[in-house]
Subunit: 163 residues, 2 copies
Amino acid sequence: MKWEDVSDTQCSIARSSAVLSDRWTLLILSDFFLGVRRFEMFQQRLGMSRTTLANRLTRLEEHGVVRLQQYQTNPDRYEYRLTAKGLDLHPVIATIVGWGDKHYAGEDGPPIIHQHKTCGADIHAVLACPECGETIGPSDIVARAREDAPGRPSVERRPVVSA
Amino acid sequence: MKWEDVSDTQCSIARSSAVLSDRWTLLILSDFFLGVRRFEMFQQRLGMSRTTLANRLTRLEEHGVVRLQQYQTNPDRYEYRLTAKGLDLHPVIATIVGWGDKHYAGEDGPPIIHQHKTCGADIHAVLACPECGETIGPSDIVARAREDAPGRPSVERRPVVSA
DNA sequence: GAGGTTAGTCCAAAAATTGGACTTTGTCGA
DNA sequence: TCGACAAAGTCCAATTTTTGGACTAACCTC
């Protein structure tokens, strides 16, 4: 399968991956959530090639994750801002950061600390069911295919957690 | 910056990205959480090249996200299983699927429905603070750098949500 | 008019990905 | 005993992507 075709499937994670899954996009988005908005700042902080950065920002814009907003005239210049759709990615970034904090923090702990504004607790964000409020793990979810994607071999669903 | 060097930083999302951020890894992990364990099954379901699949599985194993487990002898054959560290990625995959469901589901809704086992509700997983139980959005978190990564321009933290 | 700032574009070299054929080890059926 | 089959890869040349650095464009300030 060519990578281009991935985004044509109806699978939610495949379509998301077509936007998010490359070397740099998650890092760019993470910087967005720290308040970064401009090309030069991204480039300096991430150290990535200018070509690829321009391509990624354009792609994020095409997908409606960010939009361009003018911040000066003479000359006209634009910065990138997260859209509502982009802000919806916050849980994704937060859970990835949480995973990294847990498994890759050195002796000194993670370099950035996240605190919950209202209660002050250090956050290691967890998933919760919006209905009953319980926290959710891999075994707490039943995945039910409404229809198998055409041509994709279906999975005989097996326990994910080993005995 | 070469991509290799990204994983050497102490930034949690950078180190996570070094494992997760490429075209296929998130899709592979998603299949793991649906119960897929074997090379041929991944290859058939994802349609990716065998070379890249082998590389990805090896990398996931090197990073301790999956491990090889023998499932037969004569000839010896092994399948891949998520480790505890791999299972910890569940919130990451769940939030990405949730984002895709919200923003890319067609008229018919998402192809796979996720239900909470204990309460039966359809899940659109949300982030919650483990201390106080409140749900968390981008503005509810204070990010505080303990130290700025050496050589990385620091961000003057600006509001992420536009006025 | 020289030098600075910001947001890119352009290019050739290097690295990663692709599709398909091939390998290995051992089954099973005729 | 021979041929076909299965699973989990490896190998290779062609294609695609990424990289680093130089360059451009528009306007400012000194």
